[in-house]
Amino acid sequence: MTVESDAPALLLIAAIILFWIGMLGLLWRRSLVGMLVGLLFAWMSVSTGGIAFSLMQRNAESETHGSALVLCIALAGCLQIAVGLSVVVARIERRGTLDADDAGLLEG
């Protein structure tokens, strides 16, 4: 077993488990801030998966593609957390609670 050959598979499996944990946070937690932490874990798992796939195909072209994908995912993750926090702040200002169950009402 060498790092070069086995690390991508281990990273990929860890990414799957981390995604599972992130989804646990989204499904289980009632606090909107806690759900954001779960979302962050899910985002990190996807990025780790991207890095693992990039490591699996070690040639210049695929490495560039993998890196570009990871940067796009990183940008999307930053934006989603920024928007999510703004929504949480607006929500608390209007309703005064962090309870996600209370946010079941879609106020369109």
Partner: protein
């Protein structure tokens, strides 16, 4: 080195689980989250994740800091003061989590046993995404993918159309 990589990955996953499980205390949850990121940094360094691995974990730490800052501004540091979850909700969420975990476990199992992800073999370097569908559903893999898209579309439409009065009867 593989042992070290396994250790740091296990540490990171354990900390991630703790961050979710210790949910009623924001500070503990955030600290566990930072420990998870630290474990992931070392794992990616050992795995030679390179520059983009560091970018990902740096952004992750930055986002966790933002969540921590806003969390401290918004809620009590020690508790978020939410009532205990009722049995029905807890059961439904546990079931959803169990089904989700089972699906991911099956995915990992088939990836492993069908030769697409075996450690130390050449097939490791070339993972075909379509092979996952084929391993799980055989010839029906593409049909199931289309069905999945249809179900996702229907669920999204339902969510967009669903309105209730916010008192738990919807």
């Amino acid at each position: 080195m593989i042992g070290l990589l396994l250790f740091f990955l296990s540490f990171a996953l354990l900390c991630a689980m703790l961050a979710i499980v210790l949910g009623r205390n924001l500070t503990r949850s955030v600290v566990a989250g930072f420990a998870m990121i630290a474990g992931l940094v070392f794992a990616l360094l050992i795995a030679r994740g390179g520059y983009f691995g560091l970018v990902v974990v740096s952004l992750g730490a930055l986002m966790l800091s933002a969540i921590q800052l806003f969390g401290w501004m918004l809620v009590d540091v020690d508790r978020d003061h939410l009532a205990k979850m009722d049995f029905g909700t807890a059961f439904a969420r546990s079931l959803a989590f169990a089904v989700f975990g089972l699906a991911l476990s099956l995915l990992g199992y088939f990836l492993w046993t069908e030769g697409e992800l075996r450690l130390g073999e050449e097939t490791l370097r070339w993972v075909d995404a379509r092979a996952v569908g084929f391993a799980l559903f055989g010839e029906l893999g593409e049909l199931v993918t289309m069905l999945g898209f249809a179900i996702a579309g229907a669920l999204l439409s339902s969510i967009l159309l669903l309105r209730d009065d916010g008192r738990g009867n919807g």
